[in-house]
């Protein structure tokens, strides 16, 4: 067996995994805390990637820079969407299933709107440093992968800090554990949820841009991304930021290894297969003990 190939696929898998984690963490948050399963989550990642693509090709702005305004815009977009369509169903008995169907509709709208604007042709984000790589012996690590991974680390750290260190972040968690208690101490349930939702969408956007620096994307790509998001979140345990990060890395490594040794057209089947097996055996995540 070729050792440097092994190492190479391990490293690129690991970097990839960081990005899965960033894409997944917001999804995990809305599912675990707001009990909303946002099928359109990955579509927002694609939307952000197109935003960065325009910024790069029309305005020549580096994706890392354009990321900030794009993520900011997505935050407000997320808040708006929450107010318009998620908030009315928060009282529904089967909120998870209802939210799934609802955001499924949203995903279809986003995908096809993007198809109209940007056509189904695959695009890549190629910043100035796109061709460069860091060489460690036989192993080359493309700059874009490193930048993407860096973005993911920062993003996940920020979300984790937000949830555990800020007043609003703590309120987000408290609200949904004890909705009535939270209302008593004057937390506005809907406002807090809106913020959480906006934040989740922003994280999806950042993840989308990071992903787009590594791989080509097109409007329909969100389906595949979403499957990875599901995989990461379910393996990591719904609602857990740390679990999501860990699961992202784990799945990155697995897919990295698959890419090196498994024929291309079987890779997705393996991913779906793993997800099905995890769902059947450990639907509450593989890092969580007990019920």
């Amino acid at each position: 067996m070729n050792f440097s190939l092994l190492l190479q696929s391990l490293i690129s898998g690991l970097l990839m995994g960081g990005i899965y984690a960033l894409l997944g963490v917001g999804f995990s948050l809305t599912w675990g805390v707001l009990r909303v399963i946002n099928i359109a989550h990955a579509s927002f990642g694609i939307l952000a990637a197109y935003g960065a693509y325009w910024a790069l090709t029309l305005l020549h702005v580096d994706p890392v820079l354009s990321l900030l305004p794009i993520v900011g815009l997505l935050f407000f977009m997320g808040m708006g969407i929450h107010k318009a369509i998620i908030q009315p169903i928060t009282r529904a008995r089967e909120i998870m299933v209802a939210s799934m169907v609802l955001t499924f509709g949203l995903a279809i709208i986003l995908e096809n709107t993007m198809l109209v604007i940007w056509s189904p042709d695959p695009r890549v984000l190629t910043p100035s440093y796109a061709g460069r790589a860091i060489l460690l012996g036989d192993i080359g690590i493309p700059m874009t992968h490193l930048v993407g991974f860096g973005l993911s680390l920062v993003g996940i750290l920020l979300i984790s800090l937000f949830l555990h260190k800020t007043h609003i972040g703590k309120a987000v968690q408290a609200t949904w554990q004890e909705p009535e208690g939270a209302a008593l101490v004057g937390i506005d349930l809907h406002r807090v949820s809106r913020i959480a939702f906006g934040l989740a969408i922003s994280a999806a956007g950042a993840g989308g841009i990071a992903m787009a620096m590594m791989y080509a994307f097109d409007p329909a790509m969100h389906n595949l991304w979403l499957i990875f998001v599901f995989l990461v979140v379910i393996v990591g345990g719904v609602g857990s930021v740390f679990g999501t990060a860990l699961a992202g890395l784990l799945i990155g490594i697995i897919t990295g290894l698959c890419m090196a040794w498994v024929p291309y057209h079987w890779i997705n089947a393996i991913t779906f297969g793993i997800l099905m097996i995890v769902l059947l055996i450990r639907p509450h995540g593989i890092f969580r003990t007990g019920v």
Binding site: T289, G290, V291
Partner: protein
């Protein structure tokens, strides 16, 4: 008739039941008391098959029933109500009860006869006039009656009642106690009930079992248990001790 031996159950490291034994005699009303979180509903969920005990056994008429599926246990003749009432909200009151008739022990499989039987049960529980309302829109007292009617529909020999009197006002409670007594007499069922309302417990139960932190701390006649020092300390507190 219904017997539990050494039942243990934990949730993610938290011990909910630590070796509980109980024994229910045919025809009696056994009450179960204990502070919130003492494991009462967990015990009911184990008896009715929603949870599997970590260890220990449950016997119905010498037949071991722990590990069976909830529907098997129902079909063997153990009916239950839920503490937080859970009507099948989009179905009518009549449909809720008819489903129990259709699938319960010796279920009536024929739709029209099941309907007729369900109507009788609604008559008995005093819900006949509301039979066509969606169950989700009933007031609490009626939902509690519906829980009883639905459990009866499965033709139980043992009925597990999880706080059927909680949240009722004085008049409603008198009616409910009366209903439970009539159920015991007319249907000949043995009753195991969780209850917080002391008045109801003292009035309706032959014997009482007290749980605290997942362990049985007392068992006996209502007077014995109510006077038991551990029970007073664990559950009733000084206010009740004074009142008795």
């Amino acid at each position: 008739m219904l017997k539990g031996e050494g039942i243990y159950k934990s949730f993610g490291g938290l011990m909910a039941l630590k070796g509980v034994d109980f024994h229910l005699r045919r025809g009696e009303v056994l009450g179960m008391i204990g502070p919130n979180g003492s494991g009462k509903t967990t015990l009911f969920n184990i008896i009715s098959g929603l949870y599997r005990p970590d260890s220990g056994a449950v016997y119905l008429e010498r037949r071991r029933i722990d590990g069976l599926k909830p529907y098997q246990i129902t079909q063997l003749g153990i009916g239950r109500t839920f503490q937080i009432v859970r009507p099948l909200a989009h179905l009518t009151v009549l449909e809720n009860v008819a489903i129990g008739v259709l699938y319960g022990r010796d279920g009536i499989h024929q739709m029209r006869r099941a309907k007729a039987r369900a109507e009788e049960l609604l008559e008995f529980t005093g819900l006949a006039e509301k039979q066509d309302q969606p169950a989700g829109r009933l007031p609490l007292a009626d939902r509690k009656r519906l829980e009883l009617a639905r459990a009866l529909a499965t033709r139980p020999s043992v009925l597990l009642l999880d706080e059927v009197f909680a949240g009722l006002n004085q008049v409603e409670m008198e009616e409910a106690i009366d209903l439970v007594t009539r159920i015991r007499v007319e249907f000949g069922v043995t009753i195991f009930m969780i209850e917080h309302v002391m008045k109801a417990i003292m009035q309706a139960c032959h014997r009482i079992l007290a749980l605290h932190h997942g362990q049985k701390i007392a068992e006996g006649t209502p007077q014995e248990v109510a006077g038991h020092p551990d029970v007073i300390e664990a559950y009733l507190g000084s206010t009740y001790a004074d009142r008795l």
